[in-house]
Structure formats: C-alpha cells, structure tokens
C-alpha cells in the first residue's frame, strides 16, 4: 500500500517548481501562442520528467537499469543528432530562396546579423562559462532552434534544456525585442527609406544548382558544417527539383510535425530539477536576450555601413531581418516600416534578408563547430 504513495512522499519542492515551469510553458504555448509546436511538448515533458521515479526516464530497479521511453528517445534522437538534422530537411523543403536570388547582396546581411552569437559567446566566457559552453550559449543568437540544439548537444549537453527553451522563447519574442533596438539605431528618415522592387524571374536551373553548389563549397572549406548545411540544402533540393512533390510536401508537413513533436518532448529529458534549477539557467536566459539584441544591432549597423558605399541605398532596418527567425523578423521590420510610412512596403526585401539569415545561422553553427576545440 505504501508503494502507492511513493510519488507524494518523494516529491521535492524543486520538482514541484519544475512542474510549475512546465505548466508555464504550456500556458505560453496555448494562451500566447509562443512557438506552441515546441514549447507545449517541452512543457508537458518537463512535467513528465519531474514526477518522482518517473518511468519515462531510466530508473534503477534491483541494481539494473530499466530504460525509460524519453531517455531512449534522447539517446537515439538527440545524442545521435538525428532529430535536429531531420528538422533541417523539413526546413530546407519549406524555404523558398527565390526572394534572396532577386537581391543577392542581402546574403551579406545574413552574416552581419549573426554578430550576437559571437558577442554573447565572449560575454558568457566573462561570466565563467567554459569555451564550449559559451559557444553553445552564444548560438542561441542564431535564432534557429535546430542549430541551437545541434551545437548544444555537441558542446554542452547538460545545458541543452535551458538553451532550447531560451532559443525558442526569444524567437517567439522577436516582435518585442527587435523594434526598440531598430528604432534606437536608425533615424526616422532611414526608416522611411524606399527601395527598388524587382520581380526578376529566376531560372529553375539556378534554383536546383544553388543548394548543390552551396553544400559542396561549404563542405570543401568547413567539413564539420556539412551535416547542418547539407541536410538543409537536401530538403531544399527536394523542394526545387520539381519531380518529388509528394516527398517535398511530406518533408514540409508530416516530417516536420512528427520530428518537432519528438524533439520537443525529448528535450524535456534535460529539464529535471537538478539540471535546470541552477544559476547557470538564469545566466543563459539573460545571455540569450543579449544575443538577440546584438544580432539585431549587428544587422542594422552593417546595413548603415554598407549604405556608405552603395549608390542605391538599402533601408537599414532590413539588416535586422538578417536573423533566422523566419518569417517573424521580416514581418516585424515590414510593420515598423509601415508605421513610419504607410505606403512603404518592405516585406519582400525583409524576407530576402530573413532567408539569408537562415543560411547565415546554419553556417555560423557549422563554423562554431569547426573553430571551437
């Protein structure tokens, strides 16, 4: 009979607090619709793993280990890096690069807006994190969940939970984080700047060759980045080849949904009280915000710098859309532009920068993996 109450007697206040954290994530996902596809599974998983002796985690019975379902998923999907890579295939199948092809110069904006990654990495080392942990924290600034998870699973598995939650939370908070930074760094005249519209048609051959050539070029210089960029570009090739429509749709819908579901609930494996309730979690949350702010600042300031040399100026706000949070960031920049001038449509330009940010964030993740030892 006593065995029936073992959960109640073994429950600690820390586990109770973590269940409340799980409840808060579920609330944010349902009520506020903040990245619900990820935050809801993470939230529910957090409750699952904080129930005392929960059999979803590995438990020891009579001296032998009994594997828990979520622990099995964690070993099979996260430690092997399979889940984030499958998500990259799905994301690749969703990306339409053609807006970027119409404004290829905006590729550089996708590099500038990764500044927050490196700035935050340096800041994290000053707070006492080791280089690999700092790199994993900095990559929150990629504004790209799968890249954050991929790098964190290599460099700082114990921090995977807080890093994932911070990455997805701040991606959902882009409409709150970016506007004040953009307004602080630009004048009203700059925000009202109009840009040329181009509806240049892109050949199918270009759309097909781009993912192949980018993968080969990246691989030749940075082989460690090949899984990240390769799976992303594979998904894109499936989309653009024109002969795999069913597979492309499956990658965009079924694959994306299933893996996101599994990824979210599996990440919760690291959301146990003993791993999450630490000072480092608070620091990671603070550093994640810092990463998004400096990404935005890096993008805007680079756009202003480039404008010194360009004949046809680019609205510097577009630089802020060089982060990977797609299409949220592009919409935010478009909305700020409309507030300043209701007839100035910046959406397509911002989408171009946003797409380049998706390439930039994956490349940044690959480079971090290559450079940090």
């Amino acid at each position: 009979m006593e065995g029936l109450f073992i959960g109640f007697t073994a429950l600690t206040w820390k586990q109770l607090l973590m269940m409340a954290v799980g409840g808060a994530l579920i609330y944010l996902a349902i009520r506020k619709e903040y990245e619900p596809a990820l935050l809801l599974p993470i939230g529910f998983g957090t409750i699952l793993v904080n129930i005392p002796y929960s059999a979803v985690l590995d438990q020891f019975e009579g001296g032998r280990r009994v594997a828990g379902a979520l622990s099995i998923f964690f070993r099979a999907g996260i430690l092997t890096e399979i889940f984030p890579l499958l998500i990259f295939v799905a994301i690749g199948a969703m990306i339409d690069f053609s807006p970027l092809f119409r404004r290829p110069l905006l590729l550089l904006y996708g590099a500038a807006a990764q500044f927050g990654i490196f700035f935050t990495m340096m800041a994290a080392t000053l707070l006492g994190f080791g280089l690999k942990e700092a790199a994993a924290i900095g990559i929150i600034g990629s504004a790209d969940g799968p890249t954050s998870i991929y790098v964190a699973s290599r460099f700082a598995r114990s921090l995977l939970g807080p890093i994932s939650v911070a990455a997805y939370s701040y991606m959902a908070l882009v409409p709150i984080i970016q506007p004040p930074v953009v307004k602080l760094l630009t004048t009203r005249g700059e925000r009202r700047l109009r840009m040329d519209t181009s509806q240049k048609k892109i050949s199918r051959t270009t759309l097909i060759l781009f993912p192949i050539l980018v993968t080969v070029l990246t691989g030749m210089f940075a082989p460690t980045a090949v899984p990240l960029i390769g799976f992303l570009m594979f998904g894109n090739l499936v989309r653009e080849c024109g002969v795999l429509k069913k597979l492309s749709l499956a990658a965009q819908n079924e694959l994306s949904s299933l893996v996101t579901l599994l990824l979210g609930i599996t990440i919760a494996t690291t959301m146990t009280a003993d791993r999450f309730l630490r000072l480092s979690t608070l620091l990671i949350v603070g550093l994640g915000l810092c990463a998004f702010i400096f990404d935005t600042a890096g993008g805007v300031l680079f756009a202003k710098l480039l404008n010194l040399f360009l004949r046809k100026k680019i609205n510097p706000m577009i630089g802020a859309a060089g982060i990977s949070a797609f299409p949220m960031s592009a919409r935010v920049i478009h909305a700020i532009g409309l507030k300043e001038d209701p007839s100035n449509y910046l959406l397509m330009h911002a989408v171009s920068a946003n797409v380049s940010g998706q390439i930039g964030s994956v490349m940044a993740g690959g480079l971090i993996l290559a450079l940090v030892h």
Partner: protein
Amino acid sequence: MTGSILATFKQALAVSGKGMLALFIFMFFFFVLLMLVDRIFPGKDIENQAGENP
C-alpha cells in the same frame, strides 16, 4: 580564477574574429556563386520599377 576566465575570453575573442570573418567570406562566395549561376542560366526580367512598391 580570473586568469583562466581571461584566457578563455581570449580564446572566444579569437574564435569570434575568425568566425565572423569566415562567415562573411562564405556569404560573399555564395553571392558570387549566385550571380554566376544566374548569369549562366538567366531567368526572364518581368519588371523593375525603381522606387515603386507593389
């Protein structure tokens, strides 16, 4: 303690410098690649109206 933090910071600084530089170089390569491929396999220009929004 402070010495080890400074040493790690210096490593992070070096990685950041190399990382940002490499990122810009890669993106510039992609830019050149895209221009080349687009020139070899051109699409058709539909319109290009300076200063006018759709």
